[in-house]
């Protein structure tokens, strides 16, 4: 990203607190900052209640941040009312106007811009083509399937060619097969229109497959931002390691330059990932993926196998290493002699351990 390019969206130090029904308050967003590159597909990922939807709504203008600033192409928008922002939203419940046809729904936003009638018709047609719903303009939302309704919601938001398109868990109501199809659709749409997409989801597979960048949220803060591969392979915090894919978390015993897994032994130098932070007394949680935990059978295995199940072509095993349970996954072909109740030896694939912050 060159220094000249202004990011499409910049969030700076945004905080938002909500009152709870019991009379207390909950901090939905805590000093959140994020840059979204122009023309990119950004995914906000996290468990429910982590603040990702709140941030989306602040960007849309449906909520007002208590502190901080949001800039669109360098200009402040957090003080601009929702109906004036060049940002449009696809709602989780689609929120289609039930008393209007599909075409009228899509035309609504264009009418708000006071465009001439023929131009509106043209744009509505184009939007329908874009989401592959040509010919359904005269139907009412109630007459459409869930997947079709979702595409209408998309078309309606895209018709205005906003600077940024916000999507609030758009695929959560769809069944699995439809969801996969729509993931590809959304990716295609984003690349075709070159509009900056910001999508909120709690589904990490979705985030990994669609996003150019993923921002992982936890309890009102961003734990990590980066391309999906990075976030998966190089988690920086315990939360990210645990939330994305599966991870084993090991509490290490650190003595000076040496770090050891309790009950296993000192960690060899090559087991560490090259860009992992150093193990210190203060930072001694290490993450390792199950596919990087290698089990071998044979005499002298120190560790009891709590469970060993063969699923597909892989062995999924749970091993007790010095009191900590480790998950391991490896091809069945390399797992002769490993069974529940037996014993095994554990090694770590080179470059697979990394220290994660708390």
């Amino acid at each position: 990203m060159s220094a000249e390019t202004v990011p499409a969206l910049q969030v700076r130090g945004v905080s938002k607190t909500f009152p709870t029904p019991e009379g207390g308050e909950v901090k939905a967003l805590d000093d959140v900052s994020l840059d979204v590159a122009d023309g990119s597909f950004m995914v906000l990922l996290g468990p429910s209640g982590c603040g990702k939807t709140t941030l989306l709504r602040c960007i849309a203008g449906l909520e007002s941040p208590d502190a901080g600033e949001i800039d669109l192409r360098g200009e402040r928008i957090d003080t601009v009312p929702v109906w004036k922002r060049r940002v449009n939203t696809v709602f989780q419940s689609y929120a289609l106007f039930p008393h209007m046809t599909v075409a009228q729904n899509i035309a609504f936003g264009l009418q708000m811009d006071h465009l001439p009638k023929d131009e509106i018709s043209r744009k509505v047609e184009r939007s329908l083509e874009l989401v592959r719903l040509t010919g359904l303009g005269g139907r009412r939302p109630q007459q459409l399937s869930g997947g079709q309704q979702q595409r209408v919601a998309l078309a309606r938001a895209l018709a205005k060619e906003p600077e940024v398109l916000l999507l609030d868990e758009p695929l959560s109501a769809l069944d699995l097969k439809l969801r996969r199809g729509m993931q590809l659709e959304l990716k295609r749409l984003q690349q075709e229109t070159h509009i900056t997409f910001i999508l909120v989801t709690h589904d990490q597979d979705e985030a990994m497959s669609m996003g150019d960048q993923v921002a992982v949220f936890n309890e009102g803060r961003i734990a990590q931002v980066g391309p999906p591969r990075d976030v998966y392979l190089r988690p920086q915090t315990r939360f990210v390691a645990d939330f994305i894919g599966e991870a084993n978390l090991l509490e290490l015993d650190v003595d000076g330059a040496q770090a050891a897994v309790i009950g296993w032994g000192t960690i060899p130098g090559d087991a560490w990932a090259p860009d992992s932070p150093a193990a210190t007394a203060a930072a001694r949680t290490a993450a390792v993926r199950p596919e990087d935990v290698i089990l071998t059978s044979g005499d002298g295995g120190r560790f009891p196998i709590i469970d060993a199940t063969f699923i597909g072509g892989d062995l999924h095993a749970v091993v007790d290493v010095g009191g900590t349970t480790l998950s391991a996954r490896q091809p069945a072909a390399h797992s002769a002699g490993l069974s529940t109740g037996g014993r095994c030896e554990v090694t770590f694939r080179p470059g697979s351990l990394r220290i994660v912050a708390d």
Partner: protein, 266 residues
């Protein structure tokens, strides 16, 4: 699997309930049918049947006083309906946005005319108008009816409002609509069936009202129910039956329309 002891083939049929239901339905409708039936009685003595005749309808419809009373009733009902629906729509929207304390107070105020015995409401408004020296008559009745009709208009409107997905308003704002545009193009059209139902209910309530109209009647002539009351009190002429039947028929038609509309929009 034990079979239940007792009569009736289905578990859902309790003994005699069906019979009693029919009896109660009859009890609800037969008295009205008597009124309708006697309206065609050619005998002057109301309750002794002599023969079929439409003379009382002709009598009643040609009567000047009655015509004036009908016009008064229609005028009052129309204006009360329009006003109460406008107030009720505003209240429905406002109630949704009020916090606990405010909405409880508002609800008490709205429901008050229904909870307070009508006689108290009637003499209360009488005292009010006398106190502020507002002339009694059609206008006074209209104002009182409006207050009374608000709760009836409100309930269908509010039911309709609550059935709308709240995100729809956010979506409209997101697409560029300000508050007024949202009200005009989203809220009102979505509320329309509820507003129509509420209007019909308010209209009937006003049309049928007796006690409030009775106390607020002024020099300009009375309303239809008050006129009928006078007829009953002074001397029961068969014309009363004809007039009552007409009022009955109008009420039933309006309620049926309201019911059909409600069923269609579902």
């Amino acid at each position: 699997m034990k079979t239940p002891r007792g009569t009736g083939t289905s578990l859902k049929n309790f003994p005699l309930f069906g019979t009693m239901a029919v009896a109660v339905f009859s009890f609800l409708y037969v008295p009205l049918l008597f009124v309708v039936g006697y309206s065609f009685n050619s005998n002057r003595v109301v309750t002794v049947w002599k023969g079929f005749s439409l003379e009382w309808y002709a009598d009643v419809l040609g009567n000047d006083d009655i015509q004036r009373a009908v016009i008064n009733s229609l005028r009052i009902a129309s204006i009360s309906t329009v006003l109460s629906v406008i107030f009720a729509t505003g209240l429905a929207i406002g109630l949704l946005r009020m916090a606990r304390a405010g909405s409880t107070i508002a609800w008490s105020l709205i429901m008050a005319p229904l909870v307070i015995p009508e006689i108290v409401f009637a003499i209360g408004t009488l005292a009010l108008f006398v106190q502020i020296q507002f002339p009694l008559g059609v206008d006074a009745i209209t104002l009182a009816h409006t207050a009374f009709c608000i709760p009836f208009a409100l309930l269908p409107i509010r039911a309709r409002l609550r059935s709308v997905d709240l995100s729809v308003y956010e979506a409209a704002a997101d697409l560029g609509a300000n508050e007024w545009v949202i009200f005009r193009r989203i809220t009102l059209p979505l509320l329309a069936p509820g507003i129509v139902a509420g209007a019909l209910l308010a209209f009937i309530i006003s049309l049928d009202d007796f006690i409030v109209s009775y106390f607020l009647t002024g020099a300009g002539g009375t309303t239809l129910p008050v006129y009928i009351f006078g007829m009953i009190r002074n001397a029961i002429t068969p014309g009363v039956n004809a007039l009552s039947t007409l009022l009955l028929v109008v009420s039933v038609i309006i309620v049926s329309i309201s019911y059909i509309i409600a069923r269609r929009k579902r």
